[in-house]
Amino acid sequence: MTDETLKSIDKATTELLEKAKKDEIGTVFSRAEQIKPCPVGLEESCCKICAMGPCRLPRTKKALQKERVGVCGATIDTIVARNFARRVAAGVASHSDHAREVAETFIKTARGESQGFSIKDEIKLMEVALDFGVEIENKEVKEIALDLGGRVLEEFGRQNGELRYVRKAPLKRQEIWKKFGVIPRGIDREVVEIMHRTHMGVDQDYHHILLQTTRCALADGWGGSMISTDLQDIMFGTPVPVLGSINLGVLKDDEVNVIVHGHEPLLPELLVVASKDPEIKALTEKVNAKGVNLAGMCCSANEVLMRHGIPCAGNFLQQELALVTGAVELMTVDVQCEMQGLQSVAECFHTRLITTSDRAKIEGATHIEFHPEHGFDTAKKILKLAIENYPNRRHEVYIPEYSQDIVAGFSHETINYLLGGLFRASYRPLNDNIINGRIRGVAGVVGCNNVRTIHDSGHITMIKELVKNDVLVLTTGCAAMACGKAGLLVPEAASKYAGSGLAEVCETVGIPPVLHMGSCVDNSRILIAATAMVKEGGLGDDIGDLPVAGAAPEWMSEKALAIGQYFVASGVYTVFGTTWPTMGSDRVTEHLFEEYEDMFKGMWAFEPDPVEGAKLMVSHIEKKRKALGIDKSRERVLFDMAMRRAIE
């Protein structure tokens, strides 16, 4: 018998695991016990690209590296690199296809063809329009948006040249990319080219395969993901600090609970509006519910939390458990990270699972396709279904009493504002306090949950270790939600968990030591924040010079690999936990872990122990501080008139 309390550090999760076990409901946790990871797959030593195989080439103690070749003669290095490339491509495709959906909706909104959407942040529209070379003078907002939308859509199918966003990176970074020929041409093209190059008998030099992998990943970070974030901000508003709450305790016994799960914020945005509609309110009263309680799950949760303060029910590994409460009338899912297991859990209760994307159906679930043209009607229809389902609750409801305050909404623009106010907004205070050592550096800790580790433990252990060492943490996705549940996303966490220097800065600004920057596509916000730090000055002239590091201690999805690869290629040292997918080849691993540092000033590392992982990050940060000459304290400079004259 396994002890459910050991599977997560989150009490709400373990309580519901106990309940699931008692009720004999299968979840990802119980299935994981029955299926062990495939040892060959784990190290990616298997090639099933052609029908002459699959060739299984696991590492054995006796076998020498050169003997590990497939039927076609492909070396283990080629095989591992190809597998890695394809997984990155899948991640890039996911973010970018999300972006395409957003871009199409954006164009429909500009044309006035979408129902319920508008241009909310005109300033950001102008900024992004300028990034894309759109003429904005003497033009109507709609006209600008339409022009921008067209140009954005071109990025996907562009065949030549460079993605527009690449120019937002520090110049030095662009030079590095140029030198290695990894500036993406078009988003789709880079994905397609990986699929081609990794076909049987094409690209068979792992260095070369990994360069294309890098180019493809950059098409995500400085392409698809950035497009998603920017256009979503323009349509739904750039996030500003907001107070919310998190964990399964946000579900309400006496309200119609609707969970939005997935990644695209389009439908959730409209559900937020529709839930306040008088007709919906009236219907709610009719079924004797106190209201509609909208709650988020996974990155859809992050999106609506960041912009509306809508409560978060939980992260990836809690999706089935939310239904185990018996309190959920309806759950919508769109794309990415929704487990098929949801449907069988839903069937144990009255819960209706609704698939809403034309790209994703789940057998047994109800499909109500979302299209922006009649988005609001769809949102209302879904809410009506949920309300109608409220009287059908047939099991005793069990909602764990855990919910935690959470301050979120830290977009790049918001951080810029928070550090100086409307009139003196800049990253100067951040850079200054990094230079003077109050803050040692900045870490991006992001990524998924993985059932092969203790739920949330990797995130929280690593992040606590980092903040204790005065490292400011930026977080997104499921990692951010883990932090929220652990009480790290409130300002009070600074004095509780952070080192004295970081705590002092947090207290001054009024921020938590861990900043929630949004969903997983919003990792592009971290790139922009890093670029802003470079541009503010005093910390080198490239992201690769900054005292920063990244990590995904509980990663599981291919998107995480794409994110990691674009962070590395942008000059960030990145540590992954749980498992590492190139362990089959020493040379590929060495290339990514060591040789990439010389090439890109960023490299991968693998460390399953979160404390050790944090230590690696801190020592990398210290290495960068030394290189910048900010490892020692400096004398205060007093200025006289001659020094003032010298100011540019």
Binding site: V407, G420, F423, L430, N431, T508, V509, G510
Partner: protein, 735 residues
């Protein structure tokens, strides 16, 4: 604990905003929306609002939109638990506080016009408060910020625990050359009143400026900083970011909070942080130490009074060079403006009643014993209170690098060197010097040899590079004084002849002056023998000496190079230098033209010339003239057009002396183009004007030039010059 400060600042902002809304509504009802409002004699409206938002408040009705901005800027109170970030909202609330306070003050000027001593540098019979500096005071004082004689200001809020402590703090700030702007009240006391009690002279001349009795008058200090950035930094109204960063980098100001810090004080302190001005408090309030918006810490507290000035200067990141002069009274630029009034005189020399002459001469090395000061004749203790004496001061200078040309430069320094001693007043130079020594100084032990000690110490400190030794002889014996007077006068004559003979043609080197780049980063002065610096303070010889003294300093030699245009006074070397030193803002510059590539000004020019197109002439106005001029602009508006290192054809900043130099406006036809200038300026330079006119073949030129008594508009100028048959009538059209 920043949270406590932010919470209090936001509360304070709410209170001040609510009060302002009430006062606004009353004023609107009483006076109507079209009633004109504003601070006295300024082109900058309500300067903080103007600098930050670009909105010029002219009428009560204009206040509405700014109040609406305030409303948007002030955030809700900070939550106790799980608060949202508060630093930025508190800074915004601080800004809104200043906007609101400016509106409050503007309403006060309207309702009680006599509350402040308007247009006065000193307290008056009717008011102990000076209120907002008008543009004349602002420009005069602003120049000191620009040239570095005043590195910044301390805004003191509240009061010290007792008058003695107050006086000590003020003196220490004066010794550090800082201006002291005072407002607010603590426990029924105000620091300016405490200073007055102990007999300290307060007012603009001594840099101890009592703005007003409440915290709201903090806006006069911040408004001053905003105006410095607009007038000298060339920063456009509404360009808030550059204005704030300019002040952070260049105006070394800070807030000294003395006493109980109220919510309203916090709101003002939060506002000041936007400008990079930190707060240093004498009470144990929370601190904000992490850096970033200010250069160093933002709020530092619980500092004992004897350390508070030193601490403040350090927190602000200011390096002050304090002159150490071995005399028994305090010494520094802050004491320059202090007066010795009749009843305070112990000994008076010169001023028409007795002779007072100052002469600096070159001697051989072996003739000079460095540091020796001799008093020949009776000293202070031999005079009784209120006496008058004859006086001659001879500074004998020797050194390998010393040149005769440097004599007048050093000699001219005597005025402000002696005047900077506390309790000593000095006016004039050469044989028209005038010195008063106060009873207070004599009480502290001041003797005549201390004047020599000042000369010795300061010549070395400021000019050590150009001489090796100096000894000083002070005569009070009438016979000796008369001997010195004769010798000195003959020396003056020789010097004048030498200088007048110098032309731009007979030197190959001009000098740059970028002294003002600390405040006007793109402005470059070119100083040639026939074009003295536009501030009136630097001629070619001064610049040459300054370069000898400090080869890396703001005065650099420029090989004038090929003359590209004789008429305009364009030189290849000058153009190249200016392009570089203006950070590529200015491509080419004329030394003798107002229409083609005129030389820029930092904003501290003595006069501004402007074209009067219909009159076919040019007018000029000096900064003491505050009325409207015939070109339709007041001096201060004109200064706005040319200040900050901007080239604006048709306008030219210049010194008073330059008017009678031969190359003045050569391209436009020279001095004979001048058709109007203020009466007082004309009287001041009458003699030279007349002489230069005669050289040009015109008798009674001063009389032909219109002034405000004869013409206030261009039409009136035209009528006047026609009547006088002014030479410009027959000159070629300028445009």
């Amino acid at each position: 604990m920043s949270k406590i400060i932010a919470s209090a600042a936001i509360r304070g902002a709410h209170k001040i905003y609510n009060k302002t809304e009430e006062r606004y509504k009353d004023a609107l009802e009483r006076f109507g929306p079209d009633q004109e409002v504003g601070f006295p004699n300024t082109a900058y409206y309500l300067p903080i609002i103007y600098a930050i938002t670009g909105i010029g408040i002219k009428r009560i009705g204009d206040m509405r939109k700014v109040l609406d901005i305030c409303k948007r800027l002030i955030p809700p109170p900070v939550r106790e638990i799980s608060s949202l970030p508060y630093l930025a909202p508190a800074l915004d609330a601080g800004m809104a506080t200043f906007f609101a306070e400016e509106i409050l003050e503007a309403i006060k000027y309207l309702e009680t016009p006599d509350f402040y001593a308007a247009n006065s540098e000193d307290l008056t019979e009717s008011s102990n408060w000076l209120g907002a500096a008008n543009d004349v005071i602002f420009r005069k004082r602003g120049v000191e910020f620009v040239d570095g004689t005043a590195p910044g200001f301390a805004a003191i809020v509240g009061a010290a625990p007792d008058s003695k402590t107050a006086a000590k703090i003020a003196l220490e700030l004066q010794e550090k050359n800082l201006y002291v702007f005072m407002c607010g009240e603590n426990d029924g006391k105000r620091i300016s009143e405490q200073l007055a009690e102990t007999g300290v002279q307060i007012g603009w001349p001594t840099r101890l400026v009592p703005f007003g009795p409440d915290i709201y008058q903090a806006v006069f200090a911040i408004g001053f900083a905003c105006r410095v950035a607009m007038a000298f930094g060339g920063i456009r109204p509404g360009d808030f970011r550059r204005n704030l960063i300019y002040n952070k980098d260049r105006t070394y100001a800070f807030v000294l909070a003395l006493g109980n810090v109220t919510d309203e004080w916090y709101a003002n302190a939060a506002g000041a942080i936007n400008w990079g001005f930190p707060t240093i408090a004498d009470t144990p309030i929370p601190q904000v130490l992490p850096t970033g918006i200010c250069t160093y810490e933002h709020v530092v507290s619980n500092i004992p009074h004897h350390q508070i000035v030193q601490k403040a200067v350090e927190v602000r990141g200011l390096k002050v060079h304090v002159a150490r002069v071995p005399i028994p009274v305090s010494y520094g630029p802050a004491f320059e403006g202090e007066r010795v009034r009749g009843e305070d005189i112990y000994l008076e020399m010169g001023g028409g009643r007795t002779i007072a002459v100052e002469w600096t001469i070159t001697k051989k090395m072996e003739e000079v014993e460095d540091g020796r000061v001799e008093v020949i004749g009776p000293n202070i203790d031999q005079f009784h209170v209120g006496s008058q004496a004859h006086f001659a001061l001879v500074a004998e200078v020797a050194g390998r690098n010393f040149q005769e040309d440097f004599e007048p430069i050093l000699e001219r320094q005597n005025h402000h060197l002696i005047n900077q001693a506390q309790g000593i007043m000095h006016i004039g130079q050469r044989d028209i010097a005038w010195i008063r020594i106060s009873k207070q100084a004599v009480e502290k032990g001041f003797k005549l040899q201390h004047i020599g000690k000042i000369i010795h110490a300061k010549y070395h400190q400021d000019f050590g590079a150009i001489f090796d030794k100096v000894q000083v002889k002070i005569y009070t014996d009438e016979e000796k004084v008369r001997e010195i007077l004769e010798a000195a006068r003959s020396s003056y004559r020789q010097r004048d002849q030498r200088i007048e003979g110098m032309t731009d043609e007979n030197v190959s080197t001009f000098y740059s002056c970028t002294l003002c780049q600390s405040f006007a980063p793109s402005h470059v002065c070119i100083v040639s023998p026939e074009r003295t610096g536009l501030c009136g303070a630097y001629n070619w010889l001064d610049c040459r000496a300054a370069y000898e003294i400090n080869p890396q300093g703001p005065n650099q030699p420029i090989q004038k190079g090929e003359c590209l245009n004789e008429q305009y006074g364009q030189f290849k070397g000058c153009n190249e230098y200016v392009r570089n030193a203006s950070r590529q803002k200015i491509e080419s510059v004329s030394l003798y033209s107002l229409l083609v590539d005129p030389m820029t000004t930092c904003g501290c020019c003595e006069c501004i010339a402007a074209i009067l197109p219909v009159a076919n002439g040019i007018m000029t106005v000096d900064r003491d003239f505050t009325d409207m001029t015939p070109c339709g602009m007041k001096f201060t508006t004109l200064a706005g057009a040319v200040g900050g290192g901007v080239q604006n054809p048709g306008f030219l900043g210049h010194s008073k002396y330059n008017i009678t130099q031969k190359k003045f406006l050569k391209a436009e036809g020279g001095l004979l183009r001048i058709v109007w200038m203020p009466r007082r300026l004309k009287e001041e330079i009458w003699e030279r004007l007349s002489k230069r006119g005669e050289e040009l073949g015109i008798q009674n030129l001063p009389d032909m030039i219109a002034d405000e008594t004869s013409a206030r508009t261009e039409e009136e100028v035209i009528a006047y010059i026609a009547e006088k048959n002014h030479p410009c009538i027959s000159m070629d059209p300028m445009i």
